[in-house]
């Protein structure tokens, strides 16, 4: 094996790398110190930069849609965009108190803190709005394979002491469901447990598939209006129309938003962003099912 050498061919004696004659670091690029965790309230702008944000830009402040600006603790991939070179500054966004005027949940469910990536100290120091049932999670930690997580999650382990706590076990660990979009070249996966409600899910999906929107989410229980006609169906890039649907435990496809969030996360097996033309006829079934469930 060749002995490792720097591109500059300096000897390894240089543990004092600063003194190495030919440093390949770029001018002015010192390794940034790790900053405090508590900073990094994102400005709204950080989400509307770049072509991919164009859509959310258009919606911002308009019509029925509140752009949540939440860091949308999405699936595995979403980390807060960094400003000024910090790497580990996660965000601890929560309900109405965040500087972004974050998601206001109308359905009365207490907002869970949105955790993207953080240390325990940050959770402890974080807002006191809610005490999480389980520890807020760092993405991909502890390192347990999805297969194992999903297997244990669908049947939470028995607990001698406290059956009510089953939720606090694997059950609340994570709940990955696949998201497909008609016309998109690949599937994504999201962890439903990270979101506090439909709006957060909506904005996270919006970031992932940057050209769709969702039929308006109802509050508690069943809404009697015709979901399709009321929803704002915009797609700037393709000029076509999409709705968000999900497959439930019975294998039926339903429109997202018609049942309370908790019920939804319990029965959603996968999500599909489908063309609205294909979604016609889903709404009535959704109503029927809800009636029989409650």
């Amino acid at each position: 094996m060749e002995k490792s050498s720097g591109v500059t061919n300096t000897e390894e004696s240089g543990l004092l790398l600063k003194d190495t004659e030919l440093r390949l670091g770029l001018p002015g690029s010192e390794s940034p110190e790790m900053e405090d965790h508590d900073q990094n309230v994102l400005s709204l702008k950080s989400f509307v930069s770049g072509a991919k944000r164009g859509f959310s830009d258009a919606l911002d402040g308009g019509g029925k849609w509140v752009f949540s600006g939440g860091s949308g603790g999405g699936s595995e991939g979403l980390f807060s965009p960094r400003r000024g070179g910090n790497n580990n500054g996660g965000n601890d966004l929560s309900g109405p108190d965040s500087g972004l005027g974050g998601p206001v949940l109308k359905d009365g469910v207490a907002p869970k803190p949105l955790v993207v990536q953080e240390k325990k100290s940050q959770v402890a120091a974080g807002n006191g709005n809610t005490a999480p049932a389980s520890k807020a999670q760092v993405v991909g930690w502890p390192p347990i394979r999805s297969f194992r997580k999903n297997t244990m999650a669908s049947h939470p382990p028995k607990n001698d002491n406290d059956d009510d706590n089953a939720e606090a076990k694997f059950g609340s660990g994570c709940l990955y469901v696949k998201v497909s979009m008609d016309g998109a070249p690949y599937l994504r996966k999201v962890d439903l447990k990270i979101y506090g409600g439909y709006k957060e899910l909506s904005s996270a999906l919006e970031k992932m598939f940057s050209c769709f929107t969702i039929g308006q989410c109802g509050s508690h229980g069943v809404s009697s209006r015709d979901v399709l006609s009321e929803s704002r169906l915009i797609d700037l890039l393709h000029g076509s129309e999409y709705v968000l649907t999900y497959e439930d435990k019975d294998g039926d496809w339903m429109l997202v938003g018609d049942v309370p969030w908790e019920m939804f996360t319990n029965c959603c097996k996968r999500l599909r962003i489908m063309k609205s033309t294909e979604a016609i006829g889903l709404a009535p079934r959704a109503m029927e099912k809800c009636k029989t469930r409650t």
Binding site: S4, V7, G28, W141, F170
Partner: protein, 585 residues
């Protein structure tokens, strides 16, 4: 003038000699002796292992090795297992299948790990390879039971179908019926990853019944306990068996039928499955326990007393996978019953809970290290550790080849001394001279990396998270670990200096993964510019790295050596830094 070849054998003789050399490494060495050996060797190489599917192109492989019968490919980086690699990153097998369909009509074996396999790929396999025998899809995704149906129907001589831990779109359990009645060649069938949907059980029974060479059968969770007895009676020659869920309504005959069925399996050495265990049925296993060498209880939510009872019946056990319900007391019992133990994996039952739910600490691992002199491979999740325990473990087990410790809370110190765990892990690398794989956790400073760089000369794979203080830590590893092939790092304050100073080292490794570290975009560009045989991939799902200053750290960095240049299937959130300093997309 005639060319003279001194001391040379006829090619056929050399070929015959080479046929005894199976290992890829040895074959590579043989091929480097001289040009004529290179030529002879490449024509008779039958088995190729490609650790990174993007390191080389299918055409290049085919050009060098025209007569391959067996291929193994790996795709996504290891951290993809923990959802750190975004979906759509890559690892598609279809281009490989397409090329091989034309070039290797006699291909017999395909083994894939962490790759995206579509139904189209599976259909193409079924159609293209007339003598296809072995398909192993380890941790793969992207296919459905329709693709499996094509394999079942199309591969007349299928011996092995192993879907371990893959994500399969379960459209219908009827794919099993696509195995023709004439198929009697199955040796190994692993469908344990299939969902809760029913698999056509009668088709399964018929298949098992007509395959007399079936040695390994792993069922999925949907198969309930009362059905197992039938299966075992049809296949008493099984060596490896994976149950479905280990539960059924309490009925009078189930236990006795099951016990009788297990008794008839005189060759059974390995058991797995055990979802949803009803402890009352565990005694059915006793007839086989004395012969068991491998036991996977890692999905079984049974508690310490039941585990102890079972394990104490298994004196020949070499491999145990279990949940932390086993607790320190169970590990102590294990240490006294199972003196042949070589591999132990303890998984957390409640990894996200704030408080520990079981009494599993460093003491359990110390007991096992003391009682099991052959222990070589450990994966251990726990919530507390001390340097003293690690030093003891290291001294008891100098034969470790794999040591992976995961202390669940990041940056946890030695709970007795409040010190970092540098000294403990240092002892591991110092005493375990054959250590090939190491995963670190807990509170760690640059010092642990100094130990690793100094002592871990055989280390091939290192996983690091939430550790270290500065670039010096990374520099120690890159400059000291001579055998390093794979390095994966997350959430550490490692940045530009160590990478750039050790850039050439990266070409001697398979890959480097760094996420949530402090490597700047500018450094990535520079690395890509200078090192033409490295693919430097910057991964960022939120915004393009060039929309920020060059000094900003990148979100995720994946660097791997490649002789086929930047890949052409990158999704929008991956950028490759190329030689001209431009960013490919």
């Amino acid at each position: 003038m005639q060319k003279k070849r001194a001391y040379s054998f006829p090619d056929e003789v050399l070929e015959h000699v080479f046929s005894f050399i199976q290992s890829g490494k040895d074959r590579n060495a043989v091929s480097m002796v001289c040009k004529s050996w290179y030529e002879i060797e490449r024509w008779c190489r039958r088995k190729v292992f490609i650790g990174n599917c993007y390191a080389v192109s299918p055409k290049m492989v085919i050009k060098r090795f025209p007569e391959v019968r067996s291929i193994e490919l790996k795709g996504k980086p290891h951290f993809a297992d923990f959802n750190l690699v975004p979906d759509g990153w890559g690892g598609y097998v279809l281009p490989w299948i397409v090329e091989m369909a034309g070039a290797y009509p006699w291909l017999e074996e395909i083994r894939l790990k962490r790759m995206v396999v579509t139904d189209e790929s599976l259909e193409l396999i079924a159609k293209s390879f007339k003598n296809f025998k072995v398909l192993v899809l380890f941790s793969c995704e992207g296919f459905s039971t329709d693709g499996l149906a094509a394999i079942a129907a199309g591969c007349k001589n299928l011996r092995e179908l192993d879907l371990r831990e893959s994500e399969v779109d379960d459209l219908s359990g009827h794919w099993l019926t696509h195995f023709p009645e004439t198929c009697t060649s199955l040796v190994s069938l692993n469908i344990s990853c299939l969902g809760s949907d029913e698999v056509s059980f009668s088709a399964l029974e018929r298949l098992v019944g007509r395959c007399p060479n079936l040695r390994s059968l792993r069922l999925n969770r949907a198969v309930s306990l009362d059905k197992i007895a039938n299966i075992l009676c049809l296949a008493p020659q099984l060596v490896d068996f994976g149950t479905g869920n280990y539960t059924t309504e309490l009925q009078p005959d189930v236990l006795s039928n099951l016990t009788a069925a297990f008794s008839s399996c005189k060759e059974l050495k390995s058991l797995s499955g055990f979802w949803d265990v009803v402890p009352a049925y565990l005694p059915a296993l006793y007839p086989v326990c004395s012969r068991l060498t491998s036991l996977n209880l890692s999905y079984a939510t049974i508690h310490s007393p039941e585990i102890i009872k079972l394990v104490s019946h298994c004196p020949s056990l070499q491999r145990l996978l279990v949940l932390d319900y086993i607790e320190d007391s169970g590990l102590e019992a294990l240490a006294s019953s199972c003196k042949d133990l070589q591999e132990l994996r303890v998984f957390p039952s409640d990894p996200f809970g704030v408080e520990p739910n079981v009494s599993l600490t460093e003491k359990g691992l110390v007991s096992v290290s003391l009682g099991c002199p052959k222990l070589q491979s450990v994966l251990y999740f726990c919530r507390q550790m001390t340097n003293a325990a690690l030093v003891t473990i290291a001294q008891n087990c100098p034969n470790f080849t794999r040591f992976r410790l995961c202390i669940i809370e990041p940056k946890t110190a030695d709970y007795l001394t409040r010190e970092p765990l540098d000294v403990g892990f240092g002892a591991i690398v110092e005493h375990c001279k054959d250590l090939r794989r190491l995963s670190l956790s807990g509170l760690l400073t640059d010092r642990v990396f100094e130990y690793i760089g100094t002592y871990a000369k055989k280390l091939e794979m290192l996983s690091v998270a939430f550790a270290g203080d500065s670039d010096l830590g990374l520099h120690h590893v890159l400059s000291g670990c001579e055998s390093l092939r794979k390095l994966e790092i997350r959430d550490c304050p490692f940045g530009d200096k160590a990478i750039l100073a050790n850039a050439a080292k990266l070409e001697t490794m398979r890959s480097l993964w760094m996420s949530s570290c402090t490597v700047s975009f500018g450094a990535c560009k520079l690395l890509g510019q200078k090192m033409h045989r490295l693919n430097v991939e910057v991964i960022d799902e939120t915004e393009p790295p060039c929309s920020r200053p060059e000094s900003c750290p990148v979100d995720k960095l994946y660097v791997y050596r490649s002789i086929s240049g930047p890949r052409s299937d990158m999704p929008p959130f991956v950028w490759t830094m190329d030689e001209e300093g431009t960013i490919l997309h």
